[in-house]
């Protein structure tokens, strides 16, 4: 149709486009004839110079562009290389350094979208040319833009108070930042607080964790909100608003000194409710502290068990006993809002539910335990005070540890949970040390990459532990010989000798794998990030941005990103803290200038756009004649939904104008 755009033109001077086709070593050049793409580009409209080069992102590559900007007076630059999500900023900066407004730049993605995904070379050439044509068509209609600076709120929110969250919070607090540490459970500490020893050094978990927990408690820069959950997140990098639901513990946290007098005096004389912290192997009262070193060291009341709530009346001895008047049966849930510049997610993991593999007999046979249950049994602070006893009180003479339960299995989780081999070895060692039992490890492969890990495995071998290579088929109490009587029989094919075996044991330990939390999908949605199919939060780049996410200002620490052991969690937490500090300490964020704006002269005031904006950035400006709509640029996040909706084309989005997109469409189709 008529009225098609002629030559590109913006801001006066005619466009002079430079096109640079990157070989990316052989990543692109192995599939695309970069020279012919450059040759093709030379004939595109307004192209003054087109070159191909080995690595455009290298210093010489960038200098090539900069020299041409000066020598050929380029005012538009196109680089055909990798994804703009990868190197757009690199090249924008190169342009800016040569004096060209960085937004006169456009990238054509001929690596992720062409060379890596295309089979035939000639097809790859064609597609690369089409994408280059699109970029050239489009860039001619770019205009100079400025990034907008917004101040960053100096506080940081850490979500999840396991070892990762604790370490991240302390790191930032020590750097002088105010940190809000939000923990869903009544206490911080996470899974690590449940462990007895840590591999491979066998240092006591509590000994290294509890000092950090009390540091959190006492740190002037940390506000610890346990028994609290994030319910809503608004805003963007530098300026988030986080709403936190503070669940009622029916105990005034500030008043409670953790003396446990109330627990003592509870009308329930005996602890009779399952103790979650002890994996339900022990009992507690309706008013309780999860474990002695709980942080904050404050009790809470379970309203599903406390008579005051279930029956409506109780002598309330606990309240009577409390000298600090900390018991408050009328406490209500409340929502608090905090502002922060950065968020670290360290929400951890859950362990695989062993009941999902019924043939392993968990919950069917009393003496089948999960590894986490065994952790509590070997723990001196656990329900048996560290004595490894079966449910009938006897000490096992033989123990079978089944590896890879819920890991490396197409029926459950295909991935390796990374920590199970090592913690199984640790448990094997502890069991042998404490009971002298015969310990059998049933493994698929021993995975011990890590400092001192393989040596630990060697040590276990020397200690006389048995290792049987094979995935366990079944755990059964069906005895086929007198020595199997009264025992649990582990059926397995020993793949090293190629025979099926039956190993009778007193105790079976299932080394359960790690899984993402059930609500991982809701959580990541709330924070605007993505997660894998398994629910692990997705990092921005698996290699180069391992603790960043798709949402600027939201960082990942620990096992919420994928299974990892304590040293890795702590290292990652440190990295996340450093990234968050880098953002917060910079003091400002630069916003991509892709905001939308309404041309007041062209707006008719129809208000179609007003309901489009999810951020309420569009308002009717009644001060203007004719009541036109106006966009508050500070609130606009640049989605462009209002632009597509505007019936008279009065709204335009920087970097994604109608004209630029129409040109891109034409360009992408101009080469067959």
């Amino acid at each position: 149709m008529s009225g098609q755009n002629g030559n590109g033109k913006t801001n006066g001077s005619a466009p002079r486009v430079g096109v640079y086709v990157c070989h990316c070593g052989i990543n692109i050049a192995g599939k695309v004839d970069c020279e012919s793409v450059a040759e093709f580009a030379r004939n595109l409209p307004d192209v003054v110079v087109a070159r191909d080069y080995k690595f455009m992102c290298s210093d010489p590559g960038q200098e090539l562009i900069q020299d041409d900007i000066r020598e050929h007076k380029l005012n538009r630059v196109v680089v055909a290389s990798c994804s703009p999500l990868m190197h757009e900023n690199t090249f924008r900066k190169a342009c800016a350094d040569a004096g060209l407004n960085p937004f006169y730049f456009q990238m054509a993605n001929i690596r992720e979208h062409v060379s890596w995904v295309t089979k035939e070379k000639d097809e790859a050439d064609k597609k690369a040319k089409a994408l280059v044509a699109a970029a050239v068509h489009r860039v001619r209609f770019h205009s100079a833009l400025e990034k907008k600076r917004v101040d960053v709120h100096p506080d940081v929110v850490v979500v999840g108070g396991g070892i990762s969250g604790i370490h991240a919070a302390l790191t930032m607090a020590n750097a002088g930042k105010h940190v809000y540490l939000i923990e869903r459970e009544p206490t911080i500490g996470g899974h690590m607080a449940k462990f007895d020893k840590t591999f491979p050094t066998l240092d006591c978990s509590a000994c290294i964790l509890t000092p950090k927990m009390s540091d959190v408690k006492n740190h002037p820069n940390i506000t610890l909100w346990s028994y609290s959950e994030v319910v809503n997140v608004d805003g963007f990098a530098g300026n988030f608003k986080v709403q936190v639901k503070r669940k009622p513990r029916y105990v005034i946290e500030e008043n409670c000194i953790g003396c446990l007098q109330c627990v003592e005096e509870c009308v329930f004389k005996n602890a009779r409710f399952d103790d979650e912290f002890n994996e339900n192997l022990g009992k507690r009262k309706p008013i309780y502290m999860p474990f002695p070193q709980a942080t904050p060291p404050v009790v809470l009341i379970d309203p599903t068990q406390c008579l005051r709530f279930t029956k409506g009346k109780c002598a309330s001895k606990c309240a009577e006993a409390c000298e600090k008047n900390a018991i408050d049966f009328d406490q209500k849930e409340k929502i608090e809002e905090v502002e922060c510049g950065a968020i670290i997610l360290s929400t951890g993991f859950k362990t695989f539910d062993a009941e999902r593999i019924p043939q392993y007999g968990y919950k069917k046979y009393a003496n089948v335990y999960t590894s986490l249950e065994l952790e509590r049994l070997v723990n001196a602070a656990g329900p048996t005070s560290g004595e490894i006893k079966l449910r009938n009180g006897s000490t096992p003479q033989s123990v079978g540890i089944v590896h890879c339960v819920g890991s490396r299995d197409q029926k459950t989780n295909a991935y390796c949970s990374r920590v199970c081999c090592m913690y199984s070895l640790k448990l094997a060692h502890l069991v042998k040390e404490r009971t002298g039992a015969e310990v059998y490890n049933f493994y698929i492969d021993m995975r011990t990459p890590g400092k001192g890990y393989e040596e630990f495995y060697d040590r276990l071998l020397e200690e006389g532990n048995h290792f049987i290579r094979g995935r366990v088929a079944e755990v059964t109490d069906w005895a086929m010989s007198p020595e199997e009587q009264g025992k649990l029989v582990i059926r397995v094919e020993d793949t090293l000798i190629g025979v099926p075996r039956r190993i009778p044991v007193d105790m079976v330990v299932l080394s359960v794998g790690l899984e993402a939390h059930d609500d991982a999908d809701d959580v990541r949605r709330m924070f605007g990030i993505s997660c894998s199919k398994q629910g692990w939060f997705t990092e921005r780049h698996p290699k180069l941005a391992p603790v960043s996410t798709a949402t600027d200002g939201v960082f990942l620490a620990g096992a919420c990103q994928g299974p990892k052991d304590i040293p890795d969690c702590v290292a990652q937490a440190g990295a996340a803290a450093a990234e968050a500090l880098a953002l917060v300490d910079k003091g400002f964020v630069e916003l991509e200038p892709n905001t939308a704006s309404i041309n007041a002269d062209l707006c008719c005031g129809c208000r179609t756009c007003v309901s489009m904006c999810p951020y309420s950035a569009i308002k009717v400006d009644e001060t203007q004649d004719g009541e036109k709509s106006i966009i508050n640029e500070a609130l606009c996040k640049g989605c462009g939904t209002c632009v597509a909706a505007c019936p008279s084309g009065a709204i335009s989005q920087n970097l994604f104008t109608d004209e630029q997109i129409f040109e891109e469409i034409e360009g992408v189709l101009s080469y067959v």
Binding site: M1, S2, G3, D601, L602, C603, C604, G605, C606, R607, T608, V610, S611, M612, V620, G626, E627, T641, A644, A645, C646, P647, S648, G649, A650, D658, F662
Partner: protein, 331 residues
């Protein structure tokens, strides 16, 4: 200085545009005073040869209304293009194809068949369909060819300016004549109407809710229309937000929704697509089934969104798929 020479012509047109000229009322006398009307077949007797005999560029301005559907209309368009310095597409049909352009949803063959054979009001026992040549004892009779599609004027010849509307508002015509007389025409290719959409001067604008959200689309006869309230807010498919202003909200003042005759603003390339963008946007639902139900309430979407602009739309290219037979005819 001699008076500018002006021509008017009509092509595939209902004659409404000619009425618009007459609607100048007394002002037409001023026009006649100021210019020489050298060609106006609707009002006076002119022959094709009168135009042929003009020198190239002899006319200063020629207003042409109507779409181009027949070979004769195409020939006249070219001829007038040669003979005038400024060619103005006058009215929706020559601007965008207009109502005759809606015929482009169908093949020319099916249009002739429908008009001459199938229409219930047609009596044509012999089944006569017009032909370009008919042999009679007196000789060969010729008729202009009925072309495959209707076109806007600028799809046939280069057009200098557009005066939109069905019919064009008198004020726009006056302003255009004034601009010619005072030599104050904007850059070539311009539509001589405000480039802001209708709501800007709609008397109902104050009654718009803060957020436009629609739960059901209605047709004018289905409801008692509140004469004061924004028609969109009443669920009517008012195309005002998509359509240029310049008619002083004529339809809205008559308690009817805008149908889009003045065409889109200069920023919009496809009137119907943009209208769909706007209407779909304000549907107040995120539920797939409810969205479908709401969209069901849009009756005759083609006619609604492309009433005046089909030949000039992106959609036009696509609707040939239908004409070529692979589509569902009679939509």
């Amino acid at each position: 200085m001699s008076k500018p020479k002006v021509g008017f012509n009509w092509l595939a047109s209902c004659g409404g545009c000619e009425e618009a000229v007459v609607d100048l009322e007394e002002a037409i006398l001023d026009v006649v005073e100021a210019v020489d009307i050298v060609f106006w077949p609707c009002a006076m007797d002119f022959k094709k040869d009168d135009v042929r005999s003009m020198a190239d560029g002899e006319m200063d301005v020629c207003f042409v209304n109507g779409a181009i559907r027949t070979s004769e209309e195409e020939e006249m368009s070219r001829l007038l293009r040669k003979k005038t310095k400024i060619l103005i597409a006058f009215g929706s049909c020559s601007h965008m194809g207009g109502i005759p352009g809606l015929g482009n949803f169908y093949s020319s063959e099916s249009i002739l068949k429908s008009s001459f054979l199938e229409s219930p009001s047609t009596v044509n026992a012999e089944g006569v369909i017009p032909k370009t040549e008919t042999k009679r004892s007196e000789g060969i009779l010729t008729l202009p060819a009925f072309q495959e599609t209707a076109k806007s004027l600028d799809q046939v010849v280069e057009v200098d300016y557009y005066v939109p509307g069905c019919p064009p508002p008198v004020k726009l015509l006056k302003d255009a004549v004034q601009a010619v007389l005072e030599n104050k025409l904007p850059p070539k290719g311009a539509v001589l109407a405000p480039d802001v959409a209708q709501c800007t001067d709609c008397p109902r604008q104050d009654t718009k809710p803060e957020k436009l959200e629609i739960k059901e689309f209605k047709r004018p006869f289905e409801i008692e229309i509140d004469p004061k309230k924004c028609l969109l807010a009443q669920g009517l498919m008012c195309l005002g937000p998509v359509t240029r202003s310049g008619c002083d909200s004529a339809c809205m003042k008559a308690n009817m929704p805008c149908t889009g005759c003045l065409g889109p603003t200069s920023r919009v390339k496809d009137f119907g697509a943009k209208a769909m963008a706007g209407f779909a946007s304000i549907i107040d639902s995120t539920d797939e089934e409810e969205i479908d139900r709401l969209l069901d309430s849009i009756v005759d979407p083609e006619g609604t969104f492309y009433r005046y602009s089909l030949p000039k739309s992106y959609m036009h290219a696509i609707c040939t798929t239908m004409r070529n037979g692979s589509g569902k005819k009679g939509a």
